[in-house]
């Protein structure tokens, strides 16, 4: 662990410690730097830490893990950002987990130091507020994006996922999957009637073909385009 000075740590975006004056920053020069390797867990949901981490190098992914489900990435934190805030501010256990997405270096700021910092320097508190605001805006924006996607693009994504599942561990990928209209309509949130309508449109565009209870993907690229909208 080596010591470092905050005044030498410069980022483009407002960071937690970028706005404090020199007399103040000398107080925090005793902070400790911790290193994590790619894939290493920094903290896990449900646990508690007595401090926050300010990222100085590398990327960290903030994820939520659920039983029997894949991890869901909420956002990627970049240098200058602060992670692990919720536990310190509200004195609760962590709501999310943080995993190093690449090899990274983090500065550990203890709870006491952090509170001292935001209560002594108005600029630092405002910067910190701005970091939080932009994070919330980002998440809400993503949320709206997710919700306002059309049934068409949700269906395309669902078919792609089924295809990936089907081809797992196969050497020769197949293009035909069993198709249960009830199940798919339930997942993407529409009625069976409307699902058939969208399927017919896909068939007309030459993307797929349905026969009996089977579905065959004809144009994988077009389907990908429908799903991502690019």
């Amino acid at each position: 662990m080596k010591k470092l000075s905050c005044s030498n740590c410069v980022f483009d975006n407002p960071s937690l410690l970028s706005n404090i004056d020199n007399s103040c920053s000398s107080k925090y020069e005793g902070r400790t730097k911790v290193k994590f390797l790619q894939g290493e867990l920094i903290y896990s949901q449900g646990s508690k830490t007595d401090g926050i981490y300010c990222i100085s190098k590398g990327k960290v992914k903030i994820v939520k893990l659920k039983k029997e489900q894949h991890e869901f990435v909420l956002w990627y934190a970049e240098p200058g950002e602060v992670i692990g805030i919720d536990s310190v501010i509200n004195n609760t256990s962590h709501y999310t987990s943080a995993i190093a997405a690449e090899d990274c270096e983090l500065c550990y700021v203890s709870n006491e130091d952090f509170h001292l910092l935001i209560s002594s320097s108005q600029g630092a508190a405002m910067d910190f507020i701005k970091i939080l605001c932009s994070k919330i805006d980002f998440i809400e924006g993503r949320f709206i994006n997710l919700v306002s996607r059309t049934i068409r693009s949700r269906l395309a994504e669902q078919i792609l996922q089924l295809l990936i599942k089907k081809n797992e561990g196969r050497e020769m990928p197949v293009k035909e999957i069993p198709f249960d209209a009830d199940e798919i309509a339930g997942i993407i949130g529409t009625s069976k009637n409307y699902l058939y309508k969208v399927m017919a449109k896909f068939a007309k565009d030459g993307i797929l073909k349905t026969r009996m209870n089977k579905l065959k993907v004809l144009d994988h690229n077009k389907l990908l385009k429908e799903a991502t909208g690019i």
Binding site: S120, C133, D137
Partner: protein, 238 residues
Amino acid sequence: MRTNRRLDPPECHTCEKKSNPLLCTLQDPELKHLSEHKTYNFYKKGQLIFHEGNRPQGLYCIDDGKVKIHKLGEEGKEQIVRFAKEGHVLGYRSLLSNEPYNASATALEDTKMCFISKSAFLDLLQENTNLSIQAIHLLTSDLKNAEQKIMNMAQKSVRSRVAEALILLKECYGTEEDEMTINSSLTRRDISNIAGTTTETTIRVLSDLKSEGVVELPGKKIKILSIKDLMRIANIFD
């Protein structure tokens, strides 16, 4: 735009609805100062309070009534982000970050609100470090809520999202005397905008729930017969 009906504004230091962590930790002299610098307005049901993309002019604090915070999606579809009721503060995030409003706010019923000007609030923030710590607290819990919501949307089925919307409505609006009927007359369209689906699907899910005996639908109202079943369907476990 605003209908001023010569209402007597409530004094901040005697306000009984102190429930928001932002302004209510202030001391009496500061609250008196706020009372002198605020205005009090009346909004009719359905009236727009502020619009997405505009620059904030100040802070709104709800004295009476209910407000929905909503955003426009990609294809012009409305999505309700959250509800606010008495004692809640609106528009603080844009004010703090000095950005345009991220969402619009509309009165859901006749609403009375206090309005604190931008300069009065920012002056207060400069002088009072405790206030900025309170703001950080508030923002951290907002961040957690936003994360929770996006998780739900990405991983839950439409059925559980509708069930969750009903539970949210019950918490926000409360119930009528029978302690089962949700005390609001929100349309099916509003419910679908909370659950992030179409009106048609919402109606279908609601009638499914009705045939399962979880809810009853007398007219526009919704009566929750078994909150336990509804919680199970909504899949709330953390």
